[in-house]
Protein backbone atom coordinates (compact mmCIF):
# COMPACT_ATOMS: atom_id res chain seq x y z
CA UNK A 1 0.00 0.00 0.00
CA UNK A 2 2.70 2.50 0.92
CA UNK A 3 4.12 4.12 -2.14
CA UNK A 4 6.91 6.55 -2.60
CA UNK A 5 5.66 10.11 -2.73
CA UNK A 6 7.50 11.74 -5.60
CA UNK A 7 5.65 14.66 -7.17
CA UNK A 8 6.71 16.44 -10.32
CA UNK A 9 5.06 19.52 -11.80
CA UNK A 10 6.15 20.25 -15.33
CA UNK A 11 5.31 23.61 -16.88
CA UNK A 12 1.97 23.75 -15.10
CA UNK A 13 -0.35 26.62 -15.93
CA UNK A 14 -3.84 27.28 -14.62
CA UNK A 15 -5.78 30.22 -15.97
CA UNK A 16 -8.84 31.61 -14.24
CA UNK A 17 -10.66 34.86 -14.94
CA UNK A 18 -8.44 37.47 -13.33
CA UNK A 19 -5.72 35.15 -12.12
CA UNK A 20 -3.25 32.65 -13.48
CA UNK A 21 -0.62 30.22 -12.32
CA UNK A 22 2.09 30.35 -14.91
CA UNK A 23 4.77 27.93 -15.85
CA UNK A 24 5.20 26.17 -12.54
CA UNK A 25 8.05 23.69 -12.36
CA UNK A 26 8.61 21.84 -9.12
CA UNK A 27 10.01 18.56 -7.94
CA UNK A 28 8.90 17.41 -4.53
CA UNK A 29 10.95 14.45 -3.38
CA UNK A 30 9.86 11.43 -1.40
CA UNK A 31 9.59 12.18 2.30
CA UNK A 32 10.15 15.86 1.77
CA UNK A 33 8.40 18.28 4.04
CA UNK A 34 7.89 20.79 1.28
CA UNK A 35 6.49 24.27 1.84
CA UNK A 36 4.81 26.44 -0.76
CA UNK A 37 5.19 29.93 0.63
CA UNK A 38 3.60 33.14 -0.50
CA UNK A 39 1.31 35.99 0.50
CA UNK A 40 -2.49 35.80 0.31
CA UNK A 41 -3.60 35.73 -3.30
CA UNK A 42 -0.30 34.44 -4.65
CA UNK A 43 -1.95 31.30 -6.01
CA UNK A 44 -0.60 28.78 -3.55
CA UNK A 45 -3.95 27.30 -2.54
CA UNK A 46 -4.96 27.13 -6.18
CA UNK A 47 -1.87 25.04 -6.81
CA UNK A 48 -3.05 22.58 -4.14
CA UNK A 49 -6.50 22.40 -5.72
CA UNK A 50 -4.86 21.65 -9.03
CA UNK A 51 -2.70 18.89 -7.57
CA UNK A 52 -5.77 17.35 -5.94
CA UNK A 53 -7.56 17.37 -9.30
CA UNK A 54 -10.28 19.73 -8.12
CA UNK A 55 -9.21 22.38 -10.62
CA UNK A 56 -8.04 21.23 -14.03
CA UNK A 57 -4.68 22.59 -15.13
CA UNK A 58 -4.81 24.54 -18.37
CA UNK A 59 -1.54 23.02 -19.51
CA UNK A 60 1.47 21.15 -18.22
CA UNK A 61 1.95 17.77 -16.65
CA UNK A 62 1.55 16.59 -13.08
CA UNK A 63 3.33 13.33 -12.26
CA UNK A 64 3.09 11.24 -9.10
CA UNK A 65 5.83 8.66 -8.95
CA UNK A 66 6.23 9.09 -12.67
CA UNK A 67 2.55 8.57 -13.54
CA UNK A 68 0.70 11.34 -15.35
CA UNK A 69 -2.30 12.34 -13.25
CA UNK A 70 -4.22 14.17 -15.98
CA UNK A 71 -7.04 11.65 -16.29
CA UNK A 72 -6.96 10.33 -12.74
CA UNK A 73 -10.00 11.54 -10.80
CA UNK A 74 -9.65 13.17 -7.38
CA UNK A 75 -10.58 10.07 -5.42
CA UNK A 76 -7.95 7.89 -7.09
CA UNK A 77 -4.97 10.20 -6.67
CA UNK A 78 -4.13 9.02 -3.17
CA UNK A 79 -3.48 12.53 -1.89
CA UNK A 80 -4.83 13.38 1.54
CA UNK A 81 -5.47 16.97 2.51
CA UNK A 82 -6.05 18.82 5.74
CA UNK A 83 -7.89 22.04 4.96
CA UNK A 84 -7.38 25.30 6.76
CA UNK A 85 -10.96 25.13 8.09
CA UNK A 86 -10.56 21.35 8.58
CA UNK A 87 -13.73 20.53 6.55
CA UNK A 88 -14.98 17.99 9.08
CA UNK A 89 -18.29 16.30 8.26
CA UNK A 90 -20.73 17.91 10.67
CA UNK A 91 -23.18 14.98 10.73
CA UNK A 92 -20.56 12.42 11.75
CA UNK A 93 -18.85 12.15 15.12
CA UNK A 94 -15.08 12.18 15.47
CA UNK A 95 -14.79 8.41 14.95
CA UNK A 96 -17.13 8.57 11.94
CA UNK A 97 -15.02 11.33 10.44
CA UNK A 98 -11.77 9.47 10.97
CA UNK A 99 -13.09 6.18 9.57
CA UNK A 100 -14.79 7.84 6.61
CA UNK A 101 -12.28 6.96 3.92
CA UNK A 102 -11.22 3.51 5.09
CA UNK A 103 -13.78 1.57 3.06
CA UNK A 104 -12.39 3.01 -0.17
CA UNK A 105 -8.86 1.89 0.57
CA UNK A 106 -9.40 -1.85 1.10
CA UNK A 107 -8.95 -1.49 4.82
CA UNK A 108 -10.86 -4.19 6.71
CA UNK A 109 -13.19 -3.27 9.54
CA UNK A 110 -10.84 -4.73 12.17
CA UNK A 111 -7.80 -3.07 10.69
CA UNK A 112 -9.64 0.25 10.51
CA UNK A 113 -10.62 -0.11 14.17
CA UNK A 114 -7.01 -0.83 15.11
CA UNK A 115 -5.73 2.17 13.24
CA UNK A 116 -8.45 4.34 14.76
CA UNK A 117 -7.40 3.33 18.25
CA UNK A 118 -3.73 3.81 17.49
CA UNK A 119 -4.21 7.24 15.91
CA UNK A 120 -6.62 8.55 18.50
CA UNK A 121 -4.10 7.46 21.12
CA UNK A 122 -1.29 9.36 19.46
CA UNK A 123 -3.39 12.42 18.73
CA UNK A 124 -5.19 12.55 22.07
CA UNK A 125 -8.65 11.98 20.60
CA UNK A 126 -9.59 8.81 22.49
CA UNK A 127 -11.95 10.51 24.87
CA UNK A 128 -13.82 12.57 22.29
CA UNK A 129 -14.48 9.93 19.61
CA UNK A 130 -18.24 10.29 20.00
CA UNK A 131 -18.36 14.08 19.85
CA UNK A 132 -19.65 16.02 16.89
CA UNK A 133 -17.33 18.55 15.21
CA UNK A 134 -19.22 21.61 16.45
CA UNK A 135 -18.35 20.61 20.02
CA UNK A 136 -14.60 20.53 19.37
CA UNK A 137 -11.94 23.13 20.00
CA UNK A 138 -9.77 24.34 17.14
CA UNK A 139 -6.94 22.01 18.11
CA UNK A 140 -9.24 19.00 18.41
CA UNK A 141 -10.74 19.76 15.01
CA UNK A 142 -7.31 19.88 13.48
CA UNK A 143 -6.22 16.61 15.06
CA UNK A 144 -9.43 14.95 13.87
CA UNK A 145 -8.81 16.18 10.33
CA UNK A 146 -5.24 14.89 10.54
CA UNK A 147 -6.38 11.49 11.80
CA UNK A 148 -8.96 11.26 9.01
CA UNK A 149 -6.17 11.72 6.49
CA UNK A 150 -3.49 9.66 8.23
CA UNK A 151 -5.67 6.57 8.75
CA UNK A 152 -5.39 5.94 5.00
CA UNK A 153 -1.57 5.83 5.14
CA UNK A 154 -1.33 8.33 2.33
CA UNK A 155 1.95 8.65 0.48
CA UNK A 156 1.38 12.40 0.23
CA UNK A 157 -0.27 14.67 2.76
CA UNK A 158 -1.25 18.18 1.74
CA UNK A 159 -1.64 20.86 4.40
CA UNK A 160 -3.50 24.04 3.51
CA UNK A 161 -2.38 26.79 5.93
CA UNK A 162 -2.51 24.25 8.75
CA UNK A 163 -1.73 26.70 11.54
CA UNK A 164 -3.49 29.90 10.62
CA UNK A 165 -6.93 28.98 11.99
CA UNK A 166 -5.56 28.08 15.41
CA UNK A 167 -5.35 30.20 18.52
CA UNK A 168 -1.79 31.12 19.52
CA UNK A 169 -2.26 28.81 22.49
CA UNK A 170 -2.64 25.75 20.22
CA UNK A 171 -0.18 27.00 17.67
CA UNK A 172 2.98 25.65 19.28
CA UNK A 173 1.48 22.24 20.04
CA UNK A 174 0.18 21.87 16.50
CA UNK A 175 3.58 22.74 15.06
CA UNK A 176 5.28 20.08 17.13
CA UNK A 177 2.62 17.55 16.21
CA UNK A 178 3.12 18.11 12.49
CA UNK A 179 6.86 17.82 12.90
CA UNK A 180 6.47 14.55 14.79
CA UNK A 181 4.09 13.15 12.19
CA UNK A 182 6.58 13.86 9.46
CA UNK A 183 9.42 12.36 11.46
CA UNK A 184 7.58 9.21 12.47
CA UNK A 185 5.40 8.42 9.49
CA UNK A 186 6.64 7.65 6.07
CA UNK A 187 5.22 10.28 3.76
CA UNK A 188 5.73 13.37 1.70
CA UNK A 189 4.13 16.48 3.15
CA UNK A 190 3.32 19.53 1.06
CA UNK A 191 2.34 22.54 3.12
CA UNK A 192 0.96 25.84 1.91
CA UNK A 193 1.65 28.76 4.23
CA UNK A 194 2.13 32.48 4.37
CA UNK A 195 4.02 32.39 7.64
CA UNK A 196 7.73 31.99 7.24
CA UNK A 197 8.31 31.31 10.92
CA UNK A 198 6.15 28.18 10.75
CA UNK A 199 7.74 27.10 7.51
CA UNK A 200 11.30 27.30 8.71
CA UNK A 201 10.45 25.20 11.75
CA UNK A 202 8.66 22.51 9.79
CA UNK A 203 9.88 22.26 6.23
CA UNK A 204 13.04 20.89 4.64
CA UNK A 205 12.51 22.38 1.24
CA UNK A 206 10.20 24.94 -0.20
CA UNK A 207 9.20 27.28 -2.98
CA UNK A 208 8.31 30.94 -2.81
CA UNK A 209 5.35 31.85 -4.99
CA UNK A 210 4.31 35.36 -5.94
CA UNK A 211 1.58 36.46 -8.34
CA UNK A 212 1.22 32.97 -9.77
CA UNK A 213 4.91 32.43 -10.44
CA UNK A 214 7.60 30.68 -8.52
CA UNK A 215 10.37 33.06 -7.43
CA UNK A 216 12.73 30.64 -5.80
CA UNK A 217 12.83 27.05 -4.71
CA UNK A 218 15.25 24.90 -2.78
CA UNK A 219 16.49 24.11 0.71
CA UNK A 220 14.51 26.04 3.30
CA UNK A 221 17.63 27.40 4.99
CA UNK A 222 18.86 28.73 1.70
CA UNK A 223 15.53 30.44 1.04
CA UNK A 224 15.88 31.90 4.48
CA UNK A 225 19.50 32.97 4.30
CA UNK A 226 20.07 33.56 0.66
CA UNK A 227 16.86 34.80 -0.94
CA UNK A 228 17.46 35.34 -4.62
CA UNK A 229 15.37 38.46 -5.12
CA UNK A 230 14.03 41.42 -3.21
CA UNK A 231 10.49 40.06 -2.86
CA UNK A 232 11.65 36.79 -1.34
CA UNK A 233 14.07 38.65 0.88
CA UNK A 234 11.31 40.81 2.34
CA UNK A 235 9.04 37.82 2.70
CA UNK A 236 11.52 35.77 4.73
CA UNK A 237 12.13 38.64 7.13
CA UNK A 238 15.40 39.98 5.73
CA UNK A 239 15.89 43.58 6.74
CA UNK A 240 18.33 46.42 6.13
CA UNK A 241 17.66 46.20 2.41
CA UNK A 242 19.69 48.84 0.60
CA UNK A 243 20.87 49.32 -2.97
CA UNK A 244 24.61 48.67 -3.24
CA UNK A 245 27.54 48.81 -5.63
CA UNK A 246 29.37 45.50 -5.60
CA UNK A 247 33.15 45.45 -5.27
CA UNK A 248 35.64 42.67 -4.64
CA UNK A 249 34.60 41.09 -1.33
CA UNK A 250 32.79 44.30 -0.40
CA UNK A 251 29.58 46.16 -1.05
CA UNK A 252 29.15 49.92 -0.82
CA UNK A 253 25.72 51.34 -0.02
CA UNK A 254 24.76 53.75 -2.76
CA UNK A 255 24.86 57.40 -1.81
CA UNK A 256 26.91 56.80 1.31
CA UNK A 257 30.39 55.97 2.55
CA UNK A 258 29.29 52.81 4.28
CA UNK A 259 31.10 49.83 2.89
CA UNK A 260 30.77 46.29 4.24
CA UNK A 261 32.73 43.10 3.79
CA UNK A 262 30.66 40.25 2.40
CA UNK A 263 31.36 36.57 2.12
CA UNK A 264 28.69 36.30 -0.57
CA UNK A 265 30.41 37.54 -3.70
CA UNK A 266 27.80 38.08 -6.41
CA UNK A 267 28.43 38.09 -10.12
CA UNK A 268 26.64 41.34 -10.87
CA UNK A 269 27.82 44.94 -10.35
CA UNK A 270 24.68 46.44 -8.79
CA UNK A 271 22.15 44.91 -6.48
CA UNK A 272 20.63 44.98 -3.04
CA UNK A 273 22.24 44.28 0.28
CA UNK A 274 20.30 42.61 3.09
CA UNK A 275 21.21 41.84 6.68
CA UNK A 276 18.93 39.89 8.97
CA UNK A 277 18.19 42.12 11.96
CA UNK A 278 19.41 39.48 14.43
CA UNK A 279 22.79 39.31 12.67
CA UNK A 280 23.68 42.85 13.73
CA UNK A 281 25.07 42.29 17.25
CA UNK A 282 26.48 44.61 19.90
CA UNK A 283 30.25 44.77 19.74
CA UNK A 284 31.28 43.03 22.99
CA UNK A 285 29.33 39.99 21.94
CA UNK A 286 30.85 40.19 18.48
CA UNK A 287 34.24 39.86 20.15
CA UNK A 288 33.52 36.37 21.38
CA UNK A 289 34.56 34.37 18.31
CA UNK A 290 38.14 35.54 18.35
CA UNK A 291 39.94 35.29 15.04
CA UNK A 292 37.11 36.63 12.96
CA UNK A 293 38.37 40.14 13.59
CA UNK A 294 40.20 40.87 10.36
CA UNK A 295 37.19 40.12 8.13
CA UNK A 296 34.41 41.40 10.39
CA UNK A 297 32.41 44.60 9.90
CA UNK A 298 32.41 47.06 12.76
CA UNK A 299 29.98 49.96 12.73
CA UNK A 300 29.51 52.80 15.15
CA UNK A 301 25.94 53.98 15.48
CA UNK A 302 23.41 55.98 17.46
CA UNK A 303 20.28 54.36 18.81
CA UNK A 304 17.21 55.97 17.24
CA UNK A 305 14.53 53.72 18.70
CA UNK A 306 13.90 50.71 20.91
CA UNK A 307 10.64 48.85 20.41
CA UNK A 308 9.52 46.16 22.75
CA UNK A 309 8.23 43.04 20.97
CA UNK A 310 7.92 40.86 24.02
CA UNK A 311 10.58 38.23 23.80
CA UNK A 312 12.86 40.55 21.86
CA UNK A 313 13.47 44.19 21.13
CA UNK A 314 13.81 45.85 17.78
CA UNK A 315 16.50 48.51 17.81
CA UNK A 316 16.90 51.30 15.28
CA UNK A 317 20.47 52.44 14.59
CA UNK A 318 21.80 55.37 12.66
CA UNK A 319 25.22 54.68 11.22
CA UNK A 320 26.89 56.91 8.64
CA UNK A 321 23.52 58.45 7.83
CA UNK A 322 21.89 55.07 7.14
CA UNK A 323 19.10 53.52 9.17
CA UNK A 324 19.81 49.98 10.35
CA UNK A 325 17.50 47.67 12.25
CA UNK A 326 18.63 45.04 14.74
CA UNK A 327 16.75 42.50 16.86
CA UNK A 328 18.18 41.60 20.25
CA UNK A 329 17.11 39.80 23.41
CA UNK A 330 15.32 42.08 25.82
CA UNK A 331 17.91 41.73 28.54
CA UNK A 332 20.40 43.64 26.35
CA UNK A 333 18.64 46.86 27.38
CA UNK A 334 20.14 46.48 30.82
CA UNK A 335 23.25 44.59 29.74
CA UNK A 336 24.41 47.23 27.24
CA UNK A 337 22.64 50.22 28.80
CA UNK A 338 20.65 50.86 25.65
CA UNK A 339 18.75 54.09 25.47
CA UNK A 340 17.46 56.47 22.85
CA UNK A 341 20.29 58.60 21.49
CA UNK A 342 23.14 56.68 23.08
CA UNK A 343 26.01 55.44 20.96
CA UNK A 344 26.83 51.79 20.39
CA UNK A 345 29.31 49.75 18.40
CA UNK A 346 27.93 46.80 16.47
CA UNK A 347 29.43 43.89 14.58
CA UNK A 348 28.20 42.23 11.38
CA UNK A 349 29.86 39.07 10.16
CA UNK A 350 30.67 38.98 6.43
CA UNK A 351 28.53 35.84 6.09
CA UNK A 352 25.55 37.86 7.27
CA UNK A 353 25.83 40.43 4.48
CA UNK A 354 23.67 39.05 1.64
CA UNK A 355 23.52 40.43 -1.85
CA UNK A 356 20.79 39.85 -4.43
CA UNK A 357 19.08 41.36 -7.40
CA UNK A 358 16.01 43.48 -7.24
CA UNK A 359 14.05 41.27 -9.55
CA UNK A 360 14.74 38.12 -11.46
CA UNK A 361 13.80 37.22 -14.97
CA UNK A 362 10.97 34.89 -14.10
CA UNK A 363 11.60 32.33 -16.84
CA UNK A 364 13.68 30.21 -16.50
CA UNK A 365 15.23 32.29 -13.71
CA UNK A 366 16.28 30.54 -10.56
CA UNK A 367 13.69 27.79 -10.47
CA UNK A 368 15.13 24.87 -8.57
CA UNK A 369 18.61 26.22 -9.03
CA UNK A 370 21.12 27.49 -6.58
CA UNK A 371 20.53 31.07 -5.50
CA UNK A 372 22.66 33.69 -7.13
CA UNK A 373 24.48 35.19 -4.20
Amino acid sequence: MIQPGLIELENISLTLPGFALENINLTIRENDFFAVIGPTGSGKSLLLEGMLGLMPFTSGRLLFNGTDMDRVPVEKRGLAIVYQDFALFPHLDVAGNILYGTRYHGISRDEAQNRLEHLSDILGLSRILDRRPHNLSGGEKQRTALARALILNPSVLLLDEPLSALDPVFHGEAKELLKRIHREMDMTIVMVSHNFDDVIYLADRGAVIHQGRICQTGDINILFEKPCDLFTARFVGMANLMPVKVGKGRVTVEGSDVSLRTANQPAFPFGYMGIRPEDIVPEPEGDVPVGSEPVGNRLRGTITGIDNHGMFIRVGLDSGGLQFEAVWPRRYIRQYNLSHGSGIRVYVSPEAVHVFREKLDPVPGCQDKAPLS
Binding site: L54, E75, A87, F89, H91, Y104, L152
Partner: protein, 267 residues
Amino acid sequence: MSVLNRAKTDGMGLFFMGFSLPVILLLTLPLIEMAREPTVAMLFNTLKDREVMLAIARSLGFSLSAGLLAFVLGTPLSYLLARRTFPGKKLIEGIIDLPVMIPHPVVGIAILSLAGRTHPFGRFLADMGVQIMGTPTGIITVLLFVGLPFYVNTVKAGFESVPARLENASRTLGAGTWDTFRRITLPLTWRHMVLGIIMCTARAISEFGAIVIVAYHPMTAPVMIYERFTAFGLEYSQPVAVWLIALSLLLFVALRMMSRSAVQYQR
Protein backbone atom coordinates in the same frame (compact mmCIF):
# COMPACT_ATOMS: atom_id res chain seq x y z
CA MET B 1 -35.29 40.01 27.59
CA SER B 2 -32.64 42.64 27.24
CA VAL B 3 -32.86 42.45 23.45
CA LEU B 4 -36.56 43.16 23.65
CA ASN B 5 -35.92 46.06 25.95
CA ARG B 6 -33.54 47.50 23.47
CA ALA B 7 -36.04 47.12 20.65
CA LYS B 8 -38.65 48.86 22.76
CA THR B 9 -36.59 51.92 23.43
CA ASP B 10 -35.59 52.32 19.80
CA GLY B 11 -37.87 54.48 17.71
CA MET B 12 -37.30 52.81 14.38
CA GLY B 13 -38.14 49.38 15.81
CA LEU B 14 -41.43 50.67 17.17
CA PHE B 15 -42.28 52.47 13.96
CA PHE B 16 -41.51 49.39 11.88
CA MET B 17 -43.58 47.22 14.19
CA GLY B 18 -46.51 49.58 13.76
CA PHE B 19 -46.13 49.32 10.00
CA SER B 20 -45.93 45.53 10.13
CA LEU B 21 -49.14 45.08 12.05
CA PRO B 22 -51.54 45.66 9.11
CA VAL B 23 -49.62 43.03 7.12
CA ILE B 24 -49.97 40.45 9.86
CA LEU B 25 -53.65 41.31 10.25
CA LEU B 26 -54.25 41.10 6.50
CA LEU B 27 -52.79 37.60 6.44
CA THR B 28 -54.44 36.24 9.57
CA LEU B 29 -57.78 37.98 10.17
CA PRO B 30 -59.58 36.64 7.06
CA LEU B 31 -58.54 33.05 7.82
CA ILE B 32 -59.44 33.32 11.48
CA GLU B 33 -62.79 34.83 10.60
CA MET B 34 -63.45 32.10 8.04
CA ALA B 35 -62.67 29.39 10.57
CA ARG B 36 -64.79 31.11 13.24
CA GLU B 37 -67.93 31.51 11.20
CA PRO B 38 -69.11 27.90 10.66
CA THR B 39 -70.73 26.32 13.72
CA VAL B 40 -69.26 23.15 15.20
CA ALA B 41 -72.34 21.26 14.04
CA MET B 42 -71.79 22.37 10.47
CA LEU B 43 -68.16 21.32 10.62
CA PHE B 44 -69.14 17.84 11.85
CA ASN B 45 -71.85 17.45 9.26
CA THR B 46 -69.34 18.29 6.55
CA LEU B 47 -66.99 15.66 7.99
CA LYS B 48 -69.69 13.03 7.41
CA ASP B 49 -70.22 14.09 3.78
CA ARG B 50 -68.42 11.36 1.82
CA GLU B 51 -68.02 13.49 -1.30
CA VAL B 52 -66.31 16.27 0.62
CA MET B 53 -63.88 13.84 2.23
CA LEU B 54 -63.18 12.23 -1.14
CA ALA B 55 -62.40 15.62 -2.69
CA ILE B 56 -60.09 16.53 0.17
CA ALA B 57 -58.39 13.13 -0.03
CA ARG B 58 -57.90 13.62 -3.77
CA SER B 59 -56.43 17.08 -3.23
CA LEU B 60 -54.01 15.81 -0.61
CA GLY B 61 -53.14 12.67 -2.57
CA PHE B 62 -52.55 14.38 -5.91
CA SER B 63 -50.59 17.20 -4.27
CA LEU B 64 -48.39 14.82 -2.32
CA SER B 65 -47.78 12.85 -5.52
CA ALA B 66 -46.67 16.07 -7.19
CA GLY B 67 -44.40 16.75 -4.20
CA LEU B 68 -42.81 13.30 -4.46
CA LEU B 69 -42.41 13.63 -8.21
CA ALA B 70 -40.73 16.99 -7.65
CA PHE B 71 -38.34 15.22 -5.26
CA VAL B 72 -37.44 12.61 -7.90
CA LEU B 73 -37.24 14.94 -10.88
CA GLY B 74 -36.22 18.18 -9.18
CA THR B 75 -33.38 17.02 -6.93
CA PRO B 76 -30.80 16.46 -9.70
CA LEU B 77 -31.59 19.82 -11.27
CA SER B 78 -31.34 21.57 -7.91
CA TYR B 79 -27.93 19.98 -7.37
CA LEU B 80 -26.66 21.04 -10.78
CA LEU B 81 -27.88 24.60 -10.26
CA ALA B 82 -26.25 24.79 -6.83
CA ARG B 83 -22.91 23.21 -7.74
CA ARG B 84 -22.03 23.47 -11.38
CA THR B 85 -21.49 26.30 -13.80
CA PHE B 86 -22.61 25.73 -17.35
CA PRO B 87 -23.73 27.91 -20.23
CA GLY B 88 -27.41 28.81 -20.03
CA LYS B 89 -27.56 28.41 -16.27
CA LYS B 90 -29.11 31.86 -15.80
CA LEU B 91 -31.73 31.00 -18.42
CA ILE B 92 -32.65 27.76 -16.66
CA GLU B 93 -32.92 29.61 -13.34
CA GLY B 94 -35.30 32.02 -15.06
CA ILE B 95 -37.35 29.14 -16.48
CA ILE B 96 -37.65 27.60 -13.01
CA ASP B 97 -39.29 30.79 -11.75
CA LEU B 98 -41.66 31.10 -14.74
CA PRO B 99 -44.63 29.18 -13.26
CA VAL B 100 -44.96 31.79 -10.53
CA MET B 101 -46.01 34.45 -13.02
CA ILE B 102 -48.05 32.35 -15.47
CA PRO B 103 -51.76 32.94 -14.78
CA HIS B 104 -53.23 29.74 -13.48
CA PRO B 105 -55.82 29.19 -16.21
CA VAL B 106 -53.01 29.73 -18.71
CA VAL B 107 -51.06 26.89 -17.08
CA GLY B 108 -54.00 24.60 -17.71
CA ILE B 109 -54.44 25.88 -21.25
CA ALA B 110 -50.74 25.47 -22.02
CA ILE B 111 -50.69 21.91 -20.81
CA LEU B 112 -53.82 21.13 -22.80
CA SER B 113 -52.20 22.77 -25.85
CA LEU B 114 -49.44 20.24 -25.67
CA ALA B 115 -51.65 17.26 -24.92
CA GLY B 116 -54.23 18.04 -27.59
CA ARG B 117 -54.65 15.54 -30.43
CA THR B 118 -53.58 18.18 -32.91
CA HIS B 119 -50.06 17.98 -31.53
CA PRO B 120 -47.68 15.05 -32.27
CA PHE B 121 -46.78 14.79 -28.58
CA GLY B 122 -50.46 14.73 -27.67
CA ARG B 123 -51.07 11.97 -30.22
CA PHE B 124 -48.09 10.05 -28.86
CA LEU B 125 -49.54 10.32 -25.36
CA ALA B 126 -52.97 9.23 -26.55
CA ASP B 127 -51.45 6.23 -28.32
CA MET B 128 -49.73 5.30 -25.06
CA GLY B 129 -53.13 5.43 -23.38
CA VAL B 130 -52.20 8.53 -21.39
CA GLN B 131 -55.07 10.99 -21.01
CA ILE B 132 -54.49 14.49 -19.64
CA MET B 133 -57.92 16.10 -19.76
CA GLY B 134 -60.13 15.07 -16.87
CA THR B 135 -57.73 12.54 -15.35
CA PRO B 136 -55.52 12.31 -12.23
CA THR B 137 -52.52 12.27 -14.60
CA GLY B 138 -53.53 15.66 -15.92
CA ILE B 139 -54.10 17.07 -12.45
CA ILE B 140 -50.75 15.82 -11.15
CA THR B 141 -48.99 17.24 -14.23
CA VAL B 142 -50.53 20.63 -13.58
CA LEU B 143 -49.67 20.49 -9.89
CA LEU B 144 -46.08 19.49 -10.66
CA PHE B 145 -45.84 22.44 -13.03
CA VAL B 146 -46.90 24.97 -10.42
CA GLY B 147 -45.14 23.29 -7.47
CA LEU B 148 -41.71 22.57 -8.98
CA PRO B 149 -40.23 26.07 -8.48
CA PHE B 150 -40.88 25.79 -4.75
CA TYR B 151 -39.14 22.44 -4.52
CA VAL B 152 -36.18 23.40 -6.70
CA ASN B 153 -35.54 26.75 -5.01
CA THR B 154 -35.75 25.26 -1.50
CA VAL B 155 -33.47 22.32 -2.24
CA LYS B 156 -31.04 24.42 -4.26
CA ALA B 157 -30.63 26.65 -1.19
CA GLY B 158 -30.06 23.45 0.81
CA PHE B 159 -27.29 22.27 -1.48
CA GLU B 160 -25.74 25.73 -1.43
CA SER B 161 -25.63 25.59 2.36
CA VAL B 162 -23.30 22.57 2.21
CA PRO B 163 -19.77 23.88 1.60
CA ALA B 164 -18.33 22.44 -1.62
CA ARG B 165 -15.22 21.92 0.48
CA LEU B 166 -16.92 19.07 2.36
CA GLU B 167 -17.59 17.26 -0.89
CA ASN B 168 -14.03 17.88 -2.02
CA ALA B 169 -12.73 16.54 1.28
CA SER B 170 -14.83 13.41 0.83
CA ARG B 171 -13.42 12.85 -2.64
CA THR B 172 -9.83 13.26 -1.49
CA LEU B 173 -10.58 10.53 1.05
CA GLY B 174 -11.40 8.15 -1.80
CA ALA B 175 -15.17 8.45 -2.16
CA GLY B 176 -16.40 8.90 -5.74
CA THR B 177 -18.99 11.48 -6.72
CA TRP B 178 -21.87 9.07 -6.02
CA ASP B 179 -20.61 7.96 -2.63
CA THR B 180 -19.93 11.58 -1.74
CA PHE B 181 -23.47 12.51 -2.68
CA ARG B 182 -24.94 9.63 -0.70
CA ARG B 183 -22.78 9.91 2.43
CA ILE B 184 -22.17 13.67 2.68
CA THR B 185 -24.52 15.77 0.58
CA LEU B 186 -27.72 13.80 1.11
CA PRO B 187 -27.55 13.53 4.92
CA LEU B 188 -26.84 17.25 5.13
CA THR B 189 -29.70 18.30 2.82
CA TRP B 190 -32.34 15.73 3.77
CA ARG B 191 -34.28 18.26 5.79
CA HIS B 192 -34.28 20.72 2.92
CA MET B 193 -35.73 18.06 0.68
CA VAL B 194 -38.56 17.32 3.09
CA LEU B 195 -39.16 21.04 3.36
CA GLY B 196 -39.11 21.27 -0.44
CA ILE B 197 -41.68 18.47 -0.72
CA ILE B 198 -43.84 20.26 1.82
CA MET B 199 -43.55 23.56 -0.05
CA CYS B 200 -44.33 21.93 -3.38
CA THR B 201 -47.27 19.99 -1.92
CA ALA B 202 -48.58 23.13 -0.20
CA ARG B 203 -48.46 25.08 -3.43
CA ALA B 204 -50.21 22.19 -5.20
CA ILE B 205 -53.00 22.03 -2.63
CA SER B 206 -53.69 25.72 -3.21
CA GLU B 207 -54.05 25.36 -6.98
CA PHE B 208 -57.43 25.94 -8.54
CA GLY B 209 -57.30 27.88 -11.82
CA ALA B 210 -55.20 25.37 -13.72
CA ILE B 211 -57.05 22.34 -12.36
CA VAL B 212 -60.43 23.73 -13.26
CA ILE B 213 -59.28 23.97 -16.87
CA VAL B 214 -57.69 20.53 -17.08
CA ALA B 215 -60.10 18.54 -14.91
CA TYR B 216 -63.33 19.67 -13.32
CA HIS B 217 -63.74 16.00 -12.47
CA PRO B 218 -62.39 14.00 -10.63
CA MET B 219 -63.31 16.81 -8.29
CA THR B 220 -60.62 18.16 -5.99
CA ALA B 221 -61.31 20.20 -2.90
CA PRO B 222 -60.63 23.70 -4.32
CA VAL B 223 -62.98 22.98 -7.24
CA MET B 224 -65.63 21.72 -4.82
CA ILE B 225 -65.23 24.82 -2.66
CA TYR B 226 -65.63 27.00 -5.73
CA GLU B 227 -68.67 25.01 -6.86
CA ARG B 228 -70.35 25.24 -3.46
CA PHE B 229 -69.59 28.93 -3.25
CA THR B 230 -71.15 29.71 -6.61
CA ALA B 231 -74.08 27.30 -6.15
CA PHE B 232 -74.96 27.73 -2.46
CA GLY B 233 -73.01 30.74 -1.15
CA LEU B 234 -70.35 31.54 1.37
CA GLU B 235 -71.48 29.52 4.39
CA TYR B 236 -71.61 26.23 2.48
CA SER B 237 -68.07 26.57 1.16
CA GLN B 238 -66.46 27.64 4.44
CA PRO B 239 -66.58 24.27 6.28
CA VAL B 240 -64.93 22.45 3.36
CA ALA B 241 -62.20 25.09 3.27
CA VAL B 242 -61.63 24.78 7.01
CA TRP B 243 -61.28 20.99 6.82
CA LEU B 244 -58.98 21.15 3.80
CA ILE B 245 -56.64 23.55 5.54
CA ALA B 246 -56.76 21.64 8.83
CA LEU B 247 -55.97 18.31 7.18
CA SER B 248 -53.19 19.82 5.07
CA LEU B 249 -51.56 21.25 8.17
CA LEU B 250 -51.81 17.81 9.77
CA LEU B 251 -50.07 16.29 6.75
CA PHE B 252 -47.24 18.84 6.94
CA VAL B 253 -46.74 18.33 10.65
CA ALA B 254 -46.52 14.57 10.06
CA LEU B 255 -43.97 15.04 7.27
CA ARG B 256 -41.88 17.30 9.48
CA MET B 257 -41.89 14.78 12.32
CA MET B 258 -40.94 11.97 9.96
CA SER B 259 -37.99 14.00 8.71
CA ARG B 260 -36.83 14.64 12.27
CA SER B 261 -36.73 10.98 13.22
CA ALA B 262 -35.20 10.10 9.85
CA VAL B 263 -32.38 12.53 10.49
CA GLN B 264 -31.78 11.11 13.93
CA TYR B 265 -31.65 7.55 12.60
CA GLN B 266 -29.15 8.53 9.96
CA ARG B 267 -25.78 9.27 11.43
